[in-house]
Assembly symmetry: C2
Homo-oligomer: 320 residues x 2
Amino acid sequence: MNGYPDISEATQLRVKRMAEKLSYQPLSHAQAIKTGRTRSLGLVLQFADHDAQRPFLAEFLAGLTSGTHAEGWTLTVASSDGHADMIETFRVLLRDGKADGFVLPRAMRDDPRVQLLRDAGVPFVLFGRQVDASGCAWFDILGEEAMRDAVAHLVGLGHRRIGFINGGTQYAYAALREDGFRLGMQSAGLSVDDDLMEQDAVTIADGAKAAARLLDQKVPPTAIVCAVDFAALGAYQAVAARRLQVGRDVSIIGYDGIPEGAHAQPPLTTFSVDNKSAGERLSNLLIRRIRGEPLTDLRETASAIFADRGSTGPVPTPSN
Amino acid sequence: MNGYPDISEATQLRVKRMAEKLSYQPLSHAQAIKTGRTRSLGLVLQFADHDAQRPFLAEFLAGLTSGTHAEGWTLTVASSDGHADMIETFRVLLRDGKADGFVLPRAMRDDPRVQLLRDAGVPFVLFGRQVDASGCAWFDILGEEAMRDAVAHLVGLGHRRIGFINGGTQYAYAALREDGFRLGMQSAGLSVDDDLMEQDAVTIADGAKAAARLLDQKVPPTAIVCAVDFAALGAYQAVAARRLQVGRDVSIIGYDGIPEGAHAQPPLTTFSVDNKSAGERLSNLLIRRIRGEPLTDLRETASAIFADRGSTGPVPTPSN
DNA sequence: TCGCTTGCCGAAACCGGTTTCGGTAGCCAG
DNA sequence: CTGGCTACCGAAACCGGTTTCGGCAAGCGA
């Protein structure tokens, strides 16, 4: 069954077919004692990351489990609170051979998990990219592309003064999305006003505060691009508090595609991310990584899907 | 190390201390080949259950993983879409010895998972109770108690015409919560009007529809008790659509303690459930169940915590 | 002093696989 | 007819534990 070279293909097939007929599968933990492999992927969740969890987790898990299940592998989930605890969790999982490799959600700028696993020589895949790509396989959504398109869309509607509310700068995605925004502005021949750039808004409250700062400027923006949907929903509040109307007085574009956005009034125009298929891709990539495929084959990206809903509109004509 | 009777305690301790010093722990999959036990708990998620997931999952997982981790066990997560798929998933996990027992979230009225595992003689614990308790260990929140207290609270504010919007009737909790509501009404000497009883509202949309039916009656209720927070938020919409005000014209009490409730306007008065500690308790109970403790020691309940916020008020004086 | 019990230890079998290795049969070329 | 190669098979060692069992030494009562 294990593909030795001196057995003809015909016989291998015969044996495999019989195994299937008897629905026999070697017990993974029995193989593990000789091979050290459990056919199991590890996922360490960090619940300190408040934002990362809520809508994201269920879909992501659905994808991961369906991906692992399809290959006959398993997903082992652990959690950690603090930073030190996290390292310890990885170590224990590894020492006990509970996981052959790890999925790392939410790549960070200088990701301590990457350092740890790279040094330990343990296979892993990132949801998100890494500047220092050595040893890194990943799947990611092209957030920079989405931000660029967001600007283009707004420019197409006549907007020229456009604000940007970025997400958490400790994450790898923040730099990319800001780059995308700047590139979009540049392509449209617009300059970026530093007063219209906000950082680190990952919750509704963060977004409301950041948007308030933008809207209270002498010449406020007519449109705001948000790197994170929650921030966009916060911007809704800031707009409403100023007796303005989203989509008419201020256009807003988000990113993530959270369900709350679709149900907001007006429905949030956003770039929707398919977290389930991200999970599926990541488990596939990690399994292939563990099997030893070269890194360069294990880097995939996909595009977010533009959901053109009600929160953007033509630039308002100055009425005063 | 495995507690044989002819070894003195002193020696056992000596060995264990040395093991700790060398930070040695037997590989669970090596033991598994002799004992059949992996020291791993199984969790099969059903993503068809849209509602069950969103806010609930992250906290619940946090609790489960922290509970398993504390005992040196692991959590193995799998998922299923359909019903047949689910049975198959359990079978595979069992056959491959991937889990020694299962946590079953969201107990249902006639739970197919319970039948399956009971027949197979596999340990499991429920989040929720079961009428046919044979073979069942569980942890549950006393929803009936909460609903009873909700009625008492409203009666204390002068309400006498109180509606009830129940959750999904396929779940075990629905009957309990309805019982609690009825008991509360009875204790207050109030009769239950069947026209004020709605069933199966688990989403905001469901809740809005159910509340609309209640509010459009000839003599609408002055207060509504909802078995599920999402339904309560739906009721907010129905109230607003009728140009009434929650907490002044109509009092609303929910159950679950979802974060959206706390941020609603007015903040939702509700009975808050600690899903994280539920997860912790469940993993503890399941591990003890696997170790062979008698069932009767493995049934725990806790109370929901009343969060008296802004969505209730004294019964409005009829102004017309 | 003898025999029995108690506490401990080491050897060996086993769990369910993987991997190595020596042997055998059949086939073909020399 | 012989030698070598290919395809296959069975035996054996090993992985890291658990469990059983026989043996040994010390302590104790008779």
